[in-house]
């Protein structure tokens, strides 16, 4: 299946990166798109201000700029809930997919799709980070502030990072995606140091809440191809959404996983229930008026984000975990940003803290 290439309506290039090889290659891949040189990112942001919905317009606009800070950050986690200790590589931010629940709609100060052209700095920072001795093992991913692969036919980050991590004994890269853009991955040398993960939902939720992303079966087929190519595979059911018939539909997706992917190759499956900062509710109502996700029973949690009523979350996690266990009890299921109480209620155990959960996940992929 040919990868769909994201084509922005307009490109802004910051002058300081116009001569970098990445910028030149990128612009060569997009010969017919108007390019505007800007002295700084704010000029590009200002150019979108007159549009009625700068978020929509931002997703159609590309900014090529320089990462002046660190490319690598720790996942900020969230207060009073157990984080998995992830580390984030920010090689790009924002996403061309426009999922209704996406936090990026309210999170990003620069609403454009941003890619950092100083890739030599990224590699230099990775070298330093991975030899810093901060940790014995590092789990890093590019899919926190963007989809790892949806823009990859254009940015080619996988070609840079997968071979890089193939030679690292103390780290693993996770590429999280909703897309089927795996063509490049199949041919790359990875030495099982990359986990390719898919964000999954039910078919009805994928259609209504993730309308720009491939349907679930296509995602599972892509996962099957990566599995055949020897990659470790991850799945993230996040956000789980409650609606009439959710139990049956999510069970079917779990069945689909085990039809397409060898359980031995599954690094982990994470579960996270729908949650978002209060200000996103207003944005969802305005930008996605058809979406019914805001009609659930969500309340402010201990971190201020709106979350499903605790028994609803526990029930969803319990159901999902039971479905997965029925297929294969050895698959590691973990909860994303959940409280110790919910872990215990839903799964019957809890890692108790971030360090323990982080170690459990590391152990799945260290060998």
């Amino acid at each position: 299946m040919a990868a769909e290439v994201f084509k922005p309506l307009r490109i802004f290039v910051e002058r300081s990166v116009e001569d970098l090889p990445f910028t030149r290659e990128l612009l060569n891949r997009l010969p017919s798109i108007p390019v505007q040189m800007v002295t700084d990112a704010q000029k590009a942001v200002n150019a979108l201000k007159s549009f009625p919905d700068p978020v929509t317009e931002g997703k159609r606009s590309l900014l090529v700029t320089r990462q002046r800070g660190p490319f690598i950050k720790r996942c900020p986690g969230t207060k009073n809930y157990i984080c998995c200790g992830y580390r984030i590589i920010n090689a790009a931010t924002n996403c061309n997919l426009d999922c209704t629940y996406c936090i990026l709609q309210s999170y990003l100060t620069i609403p454009l799709v941003v890619v950092y052209a100083n890739r030599e700095d990224l590699i230099a920072q990775l070298d330093r980070y991975l030899s810093s001795g901060q940790a014995d093992f590092y789990r890093l991913g590019t899919g926190e502030l963007t989809d790892s692969l949806s823009l990859d036919p254009l940015f080619k980050h996988a070609r840079l990072l997968v071979p890089y991590f193939a030679n690292k004994a103390n780290a693993i890269l996770e590429l999280k995606t909703k897309t089927t853009n795996v063509e490049d991955l199949i041919a790359l040398q990875h030495s099982r140091r990359t986990v390719v993960s898919w964000s999954l939902n039910t078919e009805p939720m994928a259609r209504s809440e993730e309308p720009d992303a491939p349907l679930i079966n296509a995602r599972l087929q892509a996962a099957g191809r990566c599995c055949e190519a020897g990659y470790r595979i991850g799945f993230h059911f996040d956000p789980l959404i409650e609606y009439p018939g959710w139990e049956r539909d999510y069970s079917q997706v779990v069945d689909g996983i085990f039809q397409h992917v060898d359980p031995e190759a599954i690094a982990w499956i994470s579960l996270g229930a729908l949650r978002y900062p209060p200000q996103l509710a207003e944005i969802i109502r305005r930008r996605h008026p058809h979406s019914e996700i805001v009609l659930g029973e969500l309340f402010p949690g201990k971190d201020g984000k709106l979350r499903y009523f605790r028994p609803i979350r526990a029930k969803m996690f319990h159901h999902m975990s039971a479905c997965i266990e029925e297929h294969n009890p050895d698959v590691l299921v973990y909860l994303c940003m959940e409280s110790d109480e919910v872990w215990r209620q839903a799964l019957g155990w809890s890692p108790g803290d971030m360090a323990t959960l982080s170690r459990l996940l590391d152990e799945r992929v260290q060998s």
Binding site: P52, P300, G301, P311, E341
Partner: protein
């Protein structure tokens, strides 16, 4: 601007022609008093209606209305000879802006005319007119005010009287007419302040989507109507009762859990010295117990009550509560 002064019969001015008019809900009392006392000092600016012997007001609508009520037959006017309607509209608009504060509806009508009647582009409105209207520079403001221009009279009146918030009005504009008028009646019946308006509207809009029924149909339900219209209860109490009912419907599982919690507390038979609370929205499983006392004896009694509480079977139930197994 080329113009001339002349005197015309007042009846030759078509006061129903609102081509250039943004005046809304004017207070004519002081102007009437002034004109009656010293006469018309500043004649209205008019344009001849093409192909007729009649005129339309460009600026001075309130003056013409007062003259009409005073029964004046002939009025001096300034006659504009320029045919550029946009320039004439802007002339009238800026004369108004220079002499008085426009109300919310007038600002909405001005933007509506600039965009829909004079076909100005949003970028031009943003650049040249929005801040002149005192509306800042956020492009979203344009949509906010355009939505106000579509609203019915009772809601516009509420906006001008400042009993309805602009954001509520904007939300109402997205609803069918019958729904927004029904909600406007609810605002009046319960004397809802702006914060409550927003809360009620969100609750009702969500419920109407969940139940796949109209907002008006929800408000017409007997249970809500009887609370809304109860003549024996003061309006703030009625408002609270309606809000509680709407919350119970919107969040049924939290409401049932809260009721069950109260029932378990009753079963624990806590003395007046002890107060037991759950975490907000039952997000955590910890409970907070407060002990009040002002004597050694009272503290002893509370300690005894606590020991009894620890043995009570209802406590075991409470500690497992709320469970996903109830779901």
């Amino acid at each position: 601007m080329p113009m001339s002064y002349k005197e015309i019969p007042l009846r030759a001015i078509d006061l129903r022609d609102l081509t250039f008019i943004i005046t809304y809900a004017p207070d004519l009392k002081s102007l009437k008093h002034s004109i009656a006392r010293v006469g018309l000092r500043n004649p209205p600016l008019v344009q001849r209606i093409f192909g007729t012997a009649r005129y339309r007001i460009i600026c001075g609508y309130k003056r013409a209305m007062v003259l009409n009520t005073l029964g004046i037959e002939k009025v001096p006017v300034q006659l504009a000879h320029r045919e550029d309607d946009l320039a004439l509209f802007l002339l009238g608009l800026h004369e108004n802006l220079g002499t008085r504060t426009l109300n919310v509806v007038e600002k909405a009508l001005a933007l509506d005319k600039l965009i829909h009647q004079f076909r100005l582009k949003r970028e031009k409105i943003l650049r040249d007119h929005l801040s002149a209207l005192g509306l800042g520079s956020d492009p979203k403001t344009i949509d906010l005010y355009l939505s106000i221009a579509t609203l019915e009279e009772p809601i516009r009146e509420g906006l001008v009287a400042d009993t309805i918030s602009i954001s509520t009005a904007h939300q109402l504009s997205a609803l069918p007419q019958a729904d927004r008028l029904a909600f406007n009646q609810l605002i009046t019946a319960l004397a809802l302040g702006k914060t409550l308006q927003r809360e009620f509207l969100t609750l009702l809009a969500d419920l109407s989507r969940i139940r796949k029924t109209s907002l008006r149909a929800l408000l017409d339900e007997q249970e809500i109507k009887s609370l809304t219209e109860d003549p024996n209860v003061q309006r703030p109490i009625r408002a609270r009762r309606v809000r509680d009912l709407l919350n119970r419907r919107r969040y049924p599982r939290l409401s049932q859990t809260a009721e069950k919690f109260e029932e378990l507390k009753k079963r624990l038979k806590l003395s007046g010295q002890l107060s037991l609370t759950a975490e907000p929205y039952f997000e955590g499983q910890a409970y907070r117990l407060t002990v009040s006392f002002h004597s050694r004896e009272q503290l002893g009694a509370a300690a005894k009550a606590l020991r009894n509480m620890a043995e009570d079977p209802a406590l075991a139930e409470l500690l497992e509560f709320p469970s996903h197994k109830q779901e």
